[in-house]
């Protein structure tokens, strides 16, 4: 029993530089601000009691507790004020001011959006919600402001790494589950996915020109699966982390380039990589 507890402690409580949490905190704060901007034109349509989505109907889809802040302020004005407060909380979280309550506020807002309008959510909303909750219970590196984080060569205070490990696991599962699901789909298996994607409403340069590039897209379809499998593994191994970052950035820039309206998804996935950035690592010893 004691050995098991020691084992768990070594996984979760080993100490790391607090700047690593600060990087995630800053990136998450910025991403939540961007997501608020993304939601803004639709805020009344999606979250108010005069909008397109019924609150009671959304609550029926939720088998858990309905904790959405929009239930407390369902009018268009209430929704707008909630958005303004959430934006302020995200901005304060980014600069590390009153970081703990701001992290909780940002987590509550993120949860509220997916509970109130689950049918209008993208995968990135769930990534943000997961990360926001984990950050709310983790060290925040609040002593680091955005500018200091990149300028200072000093080592930060040492804090337990449990939050970072959980975020790293989350990135791992996002990529691997999506590959497992895709491998069961005929269009991913026969290599046609990317051609259809480019020709669809998601495609930035949609047109029949994609047919002439089908052989290239066929190879890129399979390459995408390999890259999605490889990214979390490469990110996890310190000596190969730069390759993981480079592949991930290339993949998500590619999605941003070929796709339209998907920049929030790409940016959110790249935000997750901040959980892997190790400030001040001097050695190539394996470890998180």
């Amino acid at each position: 029993m004691k050995a098991a507890a020691e084992g768990l402690a070594s996984v979760w409580l080993t100490e790391v530089d607090s700047r690593r949490y600060a990087a995630v905190r800053i990136a998450l704060g910025v991403l939540v601000l961007l997501n608020i901007a993304h939601f803004w034109p639709l805020r009344v349509a999606l979250f108010s009691n005069v909008g397109t989505v019924g609150g009671a109907a959304s609550a029926e889809l939720n088998p858990g507790l309905h904790l959405s802040v929009f239930s407390l302020a369902p009018s268009p004005l209430g929704v707008t004020l909630t958005f303004v407060c959430a934006a302020a909380a995200a901005a304060l979280l980014t600069i590390g001011k009153w970081a703990r309550p701001m992290a909780v506020a940002v987590a509550w807002f993120s949860l509220s959006t997916i509970q109130r309008a689950p049918l209008a959510t993208g995968g990135w909303d769930f990534v943000l919600s997961n990360f926001a909750l984990l950050l709310a219970f983790s060290p925040l590196g609040a002593e680091w402001r955005p500018a200091d984080l990149w300028r200072s060569c000093e080592r930060g205070p040492r804090v337990p790494r449990y939050g970072l490990v959980l975020m790293q696991l989350q990135v791992f599962v996002v990529y691997w589950q999506t590959v497992f699901v895709k491998m069961g789909n005929p269009y991913w298996r026969n290599g046609e996915f990317l051609t259809y994607f480019v020709m669809s409403h998601h495609g930035r340069f949609a047109g029949t020109w994609a047919l002439g590039w089908h052989e290239t897209f066929d190879k890129l379809t399979y390459l995408t699966l390999l890259v999605e499998l490889a990214i979390p593994v490469l990110l996890w191994i310190p000596a190969l982390r730069a390759w993981g970052l480079a592949l991930g950035v290339a993949l998500h820039l590619g999605i941003g380039l070929l796709g339209t309206g998907l920049w929030m998804f790409s940016a959110t996935m790249l935000m997750g990589y901040c959980a892997f950035i190790d400030f001040g690592r001097k050695t190539r010893n394996p470890g998180l």
């Binding site: 639709l42 996915f193 409403h201």
Partner: protein
């Protein structure tokens, strides 16, 4: 770290890790669906849902336009955008959230979100023009054709109009 906080941290982290790693069993698999069912209340309550099926299959649409077609007693038609309030419109290429919303909402037969939407549209139309007697939800869709068929004639998408309704706007039937 004080002992109680240390214990809470270890338990909390281990439970969170178990929830996240359960996501490695994908939706559609027997284990994945069993775990998702058991964990659903906790995941919905905390916002830690683990469904990462983005682009798990091909997008089927090249084009999508939604509108509300309302008619008066004389057969005259008025066309409105689908977003409430204000009957706003959206462009599927740039705005993904309305696209997600309307492709996930069920109208025939309506699911709870679809039924609530139809009720709200009815109310908004009655307020807009009391002369209107019924409305339909109309989706103009451009379905991408199979690659082999596109190669033959160069036509990328097949236009299909799906109409839901008509739904009466009189108080006794429109609700």
């Amino acid at each position: 770290m004080p002992r109680p906080r240390r214990a809470i941290t270890l338990v909390f982290s281990s439970l969170c890790a178990a929830n996240i790693l359960a996501g490695l069993f994908p939706p559609g698999s027997a284990t994945g669906d069993t775990l998702a069912g058991a964990l659903a209340p906790a995941r919905w309550t905390t916002g830690t849902w683990q469904r990462w099926e983005m682009f798990h299959s091909i997008p089927t649409l090249r084009h999508m336009e939604m509108h509300i077609v309302a008619r008066d007693a004389g057969g005259g038609e008025r066309i409105f955008g689908p977003l409430l309030p204000g009957f706003g419109e959206f462009e599927v290429e740039g705005e993904k959230r309305p696209y997600y919303l309307f492709t996930r909402m069920e109208f025939d037969p309506p699911d709870p979100t679809g039924a609530e939407y139809l009720r709200r549209v009815g109310e908004a139309l009655r307020a807009e023009d009391p002369e209107l007697v019924e409305f339909s939800v109309v989706a103009d869709l451009g379905y991408i054709r199979h690659l082999a068929h596109i190669r033959k004639d160069g036509t990328l998408a097949k236009r299909v109009t799906e109409t839901f309704g008509p739904y009466p706007l009189r108080d006794e039937g429109g609700r």
